[in-house]
Amino acid sequence: MTTPTSAGGSPADADATGSAMVLPGPDAAAGGTAVPLGSRGSGQFADIRRRFVRNRLAMVGLAIVTVLIVLAIIGPYVTPYNAFEQNLANTLQPPSADHWFGTDVLGRDLFSGIVYGCRLAILVGLLTVAFSLLIGLTLGAVAGFKGGAWDGIIARFIDVFLAFPPLVGAIVIVRAVGGGVTPVIVALVALGWMTTARLTRGQVLALREAEYVEAARSIGADNRRIVMRHVLPNAIAPVLVYAFTNIGVVIVAMASLSYLGIGVPPDVPEWGRLISQATPFLRVEGKAHLWLAPALAIAITTLGFAFVADGMRDSLDPKLRGGN
């Protein structure tokens, strides 16, 4: 890692260094010598952060994601009811002061259920993407850096897993491993690491011949150090953008599995499960909130992560601004 921020050294700058995930690489060290722009600092991290903050959609996304994560952490301690507690004498109540979103088919408080579902979605989304990143970055870096037979073998592995219809593959894996949250994560990771690996491979391949890699080698750095300290930090930007977009995809995938009755146990208020339990009431007057609430929860979550990912991409590379 280079020293991305120049003078200043305000807490905001420290924050930018800590949270910005794209390291500009040694050749950007020139940026560090740029004229300091007042107390806001300069250098690449500060630039990226400034572009991100100025992007309204990205900030909306960041706000959504922050709220979701806070809700996921503190949710079960602040919801008015236990999300699992069934009360069959009090089912299908309309929204009221007692039950903000009403109660569902099993008499559970729907608001508490949505909040619990948020915890589940965030947990599975983040863990799945983290494990996929771990596998994808490792295999991609090895394939791109070593090349030759390594590259060939890993590329074929990627092909095989990509050829699987992802949802079907996940269903079969979950059925084989057994129900629960862990098998869902295992299945989604098993079918979710390939694009990360491919992206990383491409990036590493392009950077392998960079001058600063040659420079590092000439002063005696070994492969491990070159990859970890020089190549990966420069290669990681698009990979992380993809990972962020993918969190929403993973959350939708988990909801799809539970919608089909696979994965998390039936009594867990998971968003997809809540939607499938509400399906019989689609045409019933005044019961739309039963499926609308979890459907909106999924849509807002996916949107939040997508906005942040879009904002990250735009602020990392202003040339792509307004790109897809």
Binding site: R156, D159, A163, V177, Y259, I275, I298, G323
Partner: protein, 310 residues
Amino acid sequence: MARFITRRLVQAVLVILAATFLIFLATFALGDPFASSGEKAVPPDIAQANREKFGLDKPLPLQYLIYVGNMVRGDFGIDYDQHRPVSQLLEAAVPNTVRLAIVAIIIDILIGVIAGVIAAVKRYSFWDVLVTVIATLAIGIPVFVIGVVLVANVSGWGPFPSVPRSFTVQVPWYQEVLLPAFTLAIIDAAFIARLMRGSMLEVLRADYIRTARAKGLSERTVIGKHAMRNSMIPVVTYVGVSLGVLFGGAIITETIFQYNGVGYLLSRAIVNSNAPIIIAVVVFSVVAYVLISMLVDILYAFLDPRIRLS
């Protein structure tokens, strides 16, 4: 060129074999289908007879080799439940899925490309914002939500057949395919619109567009001919992948609309762990995906000679 195609073919066969083996392993992990479980008590001799009948008494690698041998001859065995030949089930389901995929892709391309081009040409206008917002929303909404809402509110109305259908009612395929195709197309169209917009914006900045404008071509020619053709490349790639995925069967959409394609066949087979059907459908999906991506690659190699050399 011949060498390129041969290499891609060999790779495709290897990928198909490996994927078949993986799905074989996975269904093996589903457990012994003929063991006693819960309320179902199976006498040991009958269970043994069944295992022998389905070849499950042999070691797994041997089972796999026998399966691949039969598969190459078009024999996918018989299913556990009703002992129907799986190849016949596939034959009945595949045409429906192919129709669904093609109709969905056409809707996709039409909506996606038009929306993307409008958004790019009228950048920052009301239409651009509208397309961007709808496209982002459509990507965020799970396909089953779109599906169940359509089933509840649109099916049984106008040309759209009701779901579920009674057995006595015959519905022509082009009516039956409409709603599921539309459901599938919404999300894909959103992706295509985003791709198209991004790629079009990039192309519009290119020098040859300025040249085309400078020599006085009408805006219609500049956009319709020069810009559109050159910005279609990422869309073509995406459509290729998407078609490969769609041919493999859309398990959720087909299940929601009770559409008799491979996805619905698969979802019913998964519910009762009917392994021969699961394996056959997954093999079909894998083959469809691999073949289509191979065709797309070869098409590219024809269109762009640089690819052949890499």
